[in-house]
Amino acid sequence: MNELNNIISIIGKETTRAIIGLIGVMVLVVINALILTWAERKVAGHMQRRIAAKEVGPFGLIQPIADSIKLLGKELITPVNVERPLFYLAPTLIFVPVLVSFVVIPFGSYLQVKDINVGILVILAFSSLSVLSILIAGWGSNNKYSLIGAIRSVAQNIAYEIPLLLSLLAVVFMVNSLSLKDIVEAQRGLWFVILQPFAFIVFFIASVAETNRTPFDLPEAESELVAGYHTEYSGMRFALFFLAEYTNIFIVSAIATTFFLGGYQGPILPGIVWFFIKTYFLVFVILWMRWTFPRVRFDQLLNFSWKVLIPASLVNLIITGGMLKL
C-alpha cells in the first residue's frame, strides 16, 4: 500500500486518475461492444420471431466472445489497388474520438475521468473526427461503393451535427455551463426532458443519424452499397468499425442521459446503476428502431435535417432564450 502511495505521490494525483480512468474506459468500451453485439442479436431475433443466439453459453452470452475470437483469427485481406497507408489508418483512427469522448462523461457523482469546463465541446469536436476516418476508409478502399458510402456519410454528418448542437445548446442556456457535471447537477429536481422535450426529440433523431443507424444507415446501406465504406475491410479491421459503431451508440445514449434524463441521478440505487439503466434503455430504443423501420432516401434525409430539424431547433432555442430572459 505504501508503495502504491509512493507511486501516486511521484506521478501526481491527476495523472493517476487519468491512467486509471483510461484503463476503465478501455474495459468499458470492450465490454459494451460485447454486450451490444449480444443485445442486438437478441433484440433482432425476438423482433423477427426467432430465438437468436443460444448455443454458446447460457442465453448465448458467450457468443460475442466466440465471435471476437473468430474475427481475430481471420485473415486481414488487403485488396491490391487500395491506398495502403490510408486503408490501414482508417480503422485505427475511427477509435480515437470514441475513446476521448468517454473522458468527460460523468458515470456517477465522482466517477468521471476528468471534469472539463467545456465538456460537451470536447465530445462534439471529437465526434466530428469520426467522419474523417470514414472518409479515409471510403477513399482509401478504392471501391466505388465505399466512396459513395463515404460521401454520403460526410454529407449526413455535416447536416445532422447542426441540429445536434442546437438542441444541446438549449440545455446549455438553461444551465449556463458547458461542464457535463454541472448539467447533471442542475437536473436534481426536474429532468430536462420535461422542460425541453422538443430538444430531446431533435437530439435523439440527430444522434441516430450521427451513428449511422437505421433508418439513417445510408453510408452502409447494404441493399444499395453492399456495405458502404467498410466493404473492403475484413477480419479485425472490420471489427474495429463495428466496435466504434457500438461505442458511438453508447456515447450518444450517454450524452442524452446526461443532458435530458438526469444522468446518474435517481432514488435508492447508486448513481452509476441509474446511469447505465437509462443509457441502455436508450440504446435499446435505437436497436428497436433498426429492426422496425425501412431506410430513408438520401435526399429525404438531408431535406429532413435542413428543412425541418434545423429551423425547428432554432425556434426552440429562441423560445428557450426568451423564456430565460423573462
Binding site: 423477427q48 441493399s223 425501412p294 432516401r297 429525404q300
Partner: protein, 524 residues
Amino acid sequence: MVKKTLEDIKNTLKGVDASEISYAERGYHLAIEAQKGSLIGVVEFFADKGFYLADLCCVDYAEYLELVYLFNNFKELCRVKVTLKVEPDKPVAPTISHIYTMAHWYEREIHEFFGVYFEGHQKLTYLFLHNGIDCYPLRKNRVPVTDDDKKLLDSFKPEEEEDAFFINLGPQHPSTHGVLRVVLKMDGEYILSAEPVLGYLHRMHEKMAENRSYQQFLPNPARMDYPGALLFNLAHVAAVEKLCGIEVPERAQYIRTITCELNRISSHLLWIGAFLGDLGGLTPFLYAFDDRENILDILESATGSRLTYCYFRFGGLYNDIDDTFIDMTKKFIKRMHERLGMYEKLITKNVIFINRVRGIGILEQSEVPKYGCSGPIIRSTGMPFDIRKVEPYAAYDKIDFEIPTGKTGDNMDRYMVRMKEMEISLNIVEKAIEKLPSGPINAEKVPKKLKPPKGDVYHAVESTRGETGVYIVSDESDKPYRMRWRVPSFSNLMTFPALAQRTLLADAIATMGSFDLVIPEIDR
C-alpha cells in the same frame, strides 16, 4: 375482335395472306405469313392497333428458319401469329426493334441462338452466352459461329467518360436477388443510364426440352421460376394437353386452381420480404416466411415437395388431395386474412415506406405495349389484363374473382396490387374448395409415350409475375421439335433501363425490387 382485325388486315395490308385458325387447338386466332418486304408493314399495323409483342422466337425447320412473332391485345383477346421465313445459310431479317422496344432483346436472343442477323438493330451483341460457345446452340445442324460473331461474345465493355463513372450492380450484390448484373452509368448518386447484363444463370432449358420426351421435361419448368413453380408446371402441362387434345377431369382442374393460387400467395409473400429488404427493413422478411412456411406445409402434403414442385401430369395430377389438405388450407385462409391486416398496419401505413415508394418508378400505361410486360406491373398502371380472366384455363372460368388495378403505375401501386392479389387468391381458394367436385383426377387413355400430332401450339398462364407462355412445335415424335418459353420477368426487366434513368440509386433499387424479378426465369 378477331373478325374485325381480320377485316382490317384485308383492307389495309394488301397482298398479305391472313387466315383464321382454330383457337381451341392452336391457342392463337390468326396466322399471317409475311415476307421480308412486308414484315415491317405488318408489325407497324399491329403497333398502331395497340397490340403488344407477346413473344418473338425462331424455329429451325432445316430447309428454312421461321421467325415467329406472337401479338396479342390488352383490351380484348386476339392472338396473332406472324411468321417470316429466312434462309438457313445466311439468315437475315429486318429488325422491328424500332417499333417494339422489347424486340431489342428477343432479336439479340435469336441472333445468338440461331445466327440470324437483324438488319438495322442498334446493338446486336450476345445477351445470354459467354466465351466458349463455338456454334449456334438451337440450330438443328451444327453451324459454327462466324468470326464476326465471335467478336460480339461477352462484348460489354463500358467506355470511360468524363463526369460519369460506372458501377456494376451485381452479379454479386445483395439486392439483385440472384445473379443479375446491371451496369449503371452514374453521375454522383444519379443514374444516367442502366443496362442489364444477363446470362449468369443461363441453362438452356429450351435446348434441354428438345432432347428429352414430354414427360422427362416435367421437372424442368419448376427450376425456371422457383417461387412460382406450380404455375410454370401448369403452363407446360396445359400446352401439351392443348396440343394433344387431352380433356382434363373437372376435379383435377379445381385442384390445379387451388394449388396454383396457394403457390401465388407464397410467391408474393417471398416478394414482400425481399422488397422490404431492398428498402432497408429486414424484419418483414421473417414475418413473410412465417406465413409462407404454412403454405409450403400444405403443398408438401399434396405434392411431396416444398419448393420446386412437379405436381401436374398430362391429363391430371400426380396425387389427389385429402381432407387434411382441405382442413389445413381452411385454417391457413383464416390466419392469412388476419395477417394481411397486420401487414397493412405495419408496412402499408409506415410513413418512411410510403415516402420511399409513392411516385417512384412510374410506368406509363401508354408505354406498356412497347415492352409487352404483364402481370402485376401492368395491372398497377390501371390495365385490368389478367390471363386468368381473358383466357381462362383450369377452373378460373367457373370462379368469380376481381382483378385489382392501380392508378399511377408507381412502386406503391405495384405493392398494393400484389397485396390485393393475395387477398383475392385466398378468396379463389375458398370458393374453389367449396365447389370442389368429386371424381377422377386423371384423364383416361393418356398414352405413356406422348406423341402429339404435327403442328404448333401457344398456351399462356398468368404466373405470379405475368404472362408465362409456352410455344411448342411438334413433329409427331415423342420429343418436342421446339419448345419456346415466353417468360414474364424478361419483358418486365426491359422496362427497368427506362424507369431507372435520372433517378437516385436508392430509387432504382426500390423499382427493381418492386418488379419481383426471378433471375433463373429470365435466363432460362
